[in-house]
Assembly symmetry: C2
């Protein structure tokens, strides 16, 4: 696993990675989206996906090819890359979705793995059992056991240069997802799809989706390349990348276009309800919504959906490079209350995010009450416990009138709390804040003050509290003198 | 004024308007951006601004034309529209900026107004006095007096079919800005630029910018077409439109491109620091940041800046049409802490916003602690005072176990508070909320409960408070039974 995937830049649990795909000899930069290509219907030919939109990898379904009178033999004889005319990497799915939809399929995991190798798939997938959210615990455990047997068998399979994915199941049980992740990396397989999350996304249960991803990631560890299976809406890419996902796959770009749905990073619009195109892409810069109803509607909407999708991937990579991925998630969380819920769920895992979050980035932007729960604030609070303090200390937000005499004066800066002089110009304490601060910023600052005071019971701490709301003052230890 | 500007759709203080420009016989749809065209240097020819980017109106400086050996006579003989080869409307500035920069100019307000009429400007501007932020009060009053004399003289001027703008000054004094707005509409002039806000924007003082706009709007009233003079960065368009601005002007698209600056709705990037283009526009879809350094860099960055700028205008118009402009502002507020500060400042004016905010829109999205301060929440709270209540009432967030016997059960829904059954499926109470609610949502709900209880002292109110934080509970009147 570590041989084929290398993470070069980190932000929260997100990273820019390089996935080496040996069969095709290409390197795929992640995070990225794999357009889903239907072997039978292609609104946009795969070569155009590569050359015009920048797709480095796509995904298609080997089970459909296997069962196709028309294409089965041709896929074997010509090979998948020639059949689809795609110059990049190709991942294949196995029929697990069909199994979950129809209850049975007519191949075994071994048979379809062999077929995937023979048609030249770059990343093959065994037939796992996608256990739906809210499945009863016992059934989820039994199905996970079956999935794990299939993965172990797949690990024994001679895949040649074809990589093999190891789907992570476990329904909505965090402990099962974590155990599944740990088992999956233990098999030595290559790429790790988090499976059966589509129902959560369809029902806008993004908080639970994040909890599932966080649990799987705890088991998988930071070195595993992670595919969020079935996730193709650009409104949730930034959130999912920040949670540690590297690969997405999208059928949405094409399926949505078929019935007039228009993707944006803030949700889905319907063509017939749009008076203006809220987008700068080549389609939306050239046409109005009325003009696009011209006989080429599906093609043009598909193009728009792809432009928006790949632009968001580039935006996310730029944000990771600049160290402001969480700032991008802050914006995306305002696209829909369910994405906000997902962001709040992610911040509840800030201890986990902190493991891979860099100690220094570009300037920390305080952008909402949620910002007070970012991993950087948590890290600063822990750091406070390790600082050496004088016998007496004044914490002040601004210039003070000398009402108290103390050995030292430190600034106190919401949401971080106490900031000693030597840290005041460094990340994250040199944050940009709005003038109007919220209760969460002061509450976090109070936690920082309390943390420092409790770690140093012999230090006399005074705090200048002009502007502090009552709720934050109430959270301070009684030992602190308020001035 | 009301004859030339008609607002058709509203959201907060934002609106889609039609500005009728009689001299050219065109109608400009607002909100929109007027690209600033330098008569001497044009990276993008004006006709291309219209035909490729959709510019319906542009702005150029009549003072530069007036003082140009090369262009003065040509502007008079050919006329502005022919000189610039632009098919839409053209507004002209007067030299006020040069006056404020250099202390004097060599024309009078009357002379430059006459010149603007003679070259065929569609919207002419008198020479006002742009009083900088933080100017001493007395100086601001004196300068405002001069501006007002110039406006009165301009109102007497025979402009023919040329509209005349009436700049609103008053520095950072809300009462002066309000009085200036009221005086300006009283002159009977046509278009109302809010002047001298560029220093506020340059210093990222968006909270104060919003206070200035809100004050000017109180004086101008809702019928006046408002131009936020010198505002050209797309990151603040949504905020400014929600505050009631209709026209922007941008030199930024061209000036920024000259030194490699790249506009986005979340701020400004520098080309040399970008590894990926975070944008879907035709330039960014075709080139990488490395490839754009090809001898055509300035031209390509200018195009990108224009694509992004006009896409944001379309996005804002789509949001007004759909009734989710404040949701768009929520996203934009996460681009920079100073924009968040501007949004918080705007919500402090929610009583003022409520005057023009429609009673019903698409679904209210609760997207942050700020959402609890939206005008819709304020309106619902006022409405609670007018509802008829039974003798006893249970307010419950979800199903209750029948612990109390009351005549009626109403839902209580953060941030609105009590919602009687007949309002539960209507805007805004049918809002979408995240599962994880913040303290602001509960605090606003508590204010709603208190409002209802205080308006109906004879009603016995019980409140099911599962999940409520202590701070919100503490804000409830003692008369309410907590169950
Ligand atoms: Mg292998
Ligand atoms: Mg006139
Ligand atoms: Zn588009
Ligand atoms: Zn672009």
């Amino acid at each position: 696993m570590s041989e084929i995937f290398e993470a070069r830049d980190w932000d929260a649990a997100g990273r820019i990675g390089r996935l080496s795909v040996p069969r095709s000899g290409v390197t795929v930069e992640t995070p990225t989206i794999m357009p889903v290509v239907n072997p039978h219907i292609q609104t946009i030919p795969p070569r155009e996906l590569a050359e015009r939109f920048g797709a480095e990898i796509l995904i298609t379904n080997s089970y459909i090819l296997h069962g196709s009178d028309e294409l089965h033999d041709e896929a074997l004889s010509r090979g998948l890359h020639d059949l689809l005319d795609f110059p990049g990497a190709i991942m294949t799915d196995s029929g697990s979705f069909q199994l979950s939809e129809y209850g049975e399929i007519d191949v075994t995991s071994e048979e379809i793995l062999a077929f995937q190798r023979e048609i030249g798939s770059d990343i093959a997938t065994p037939v796992d059992i996608p256990t739906a959210p809210d499945t009863e615990r016992e059934a989820a455990e039994i199905e996970l056991g079956t999935t794990q047997e299939r993965l172990e068998a797949a690990a024994e399979f001679d895949s040649g240069e074809t990589l093999v994915s190891a789907p992570v199941q476990g329904s909505t049980y965090p402990d099962l997802r974590e155990a599944a992740g740990e088992h999956a990396t233990g098999t030595g397989l290559d790429v790790f799809p988090i499976g059966a999350v589509v129902p959560l996304m369809n029902e806008y249960r993004y908080g639970e989706m994040v909890d599932v991803v966080a649990a799987a990631k705890r088991g998988l560890g930071p070195a595993a390349p992670v595919h969020l299976f079935g996730a193709g809406h650009p409104m949730m890419f930034a959130l999912a990348v920040a949670a540690g996902c590297d690969l997405f796959d999208s059928a949405a770009y094409a399926i949505y276009a078929r019935d007039g749905r228009y993707l944006t990073v803030r949700g889905t619009e319907h063509l017939e309800e749009l008076d203006y195109f809220p987008c700068s892409c080549p389609v939306c810069a050239e046409y109005t919504p009325a003009e696009v109803q011209n006989g080429e509607t599906e093609r043009l909407l598909t193009e728009h959906n792809l432009y928006v999708t790949f632009a968001e991937i580039r935006r996310i990579k730029a944000a990771i490079r600049e160290g402001n991925l969480l700032e991008l998630v802050e914006s995306r969380a305002r696209g829909h209350p369910a994405i906000l819920d997902g962001y709040r769920a992610l911040l509840a895992h800030s201890e986990q995010l902190e493991h891979t979050d860099p100690a220094s980035k570009s300037t920390f932007f305080y952008l909402s009450g949620e910002s007070a729960s970012r991993p950087e604030v948590r890290r600063h609070h822990r750091r406070l416990e390790r600082l050496s303090v004088p016998d007496s200390l004044l914490l002040a937000g601004g210039p003070t009138d000398g009402a108290v005499e103390t050995e030292e004066v430190w600034t106190v800066r919401p949401p971080f709390g106490p900031v000693p002089p030597e840290l005041s110009e460094t990340y994250p304490a040199n944050a940009e804040l709005p003038d109007r601060l919220d209760g969460e910023a002061y509450a976090a600052a109070a936690r920082g003050v309390a943390r420092l005071a409790e770690a140093n019971p012999d230090c006399e701490v005074a705090l200048a509290t002009a502007g502090w709301p009552d709720a934050a003052l109430a959270a301070l230890p009684g030992s602190i003198e308020l001035v």
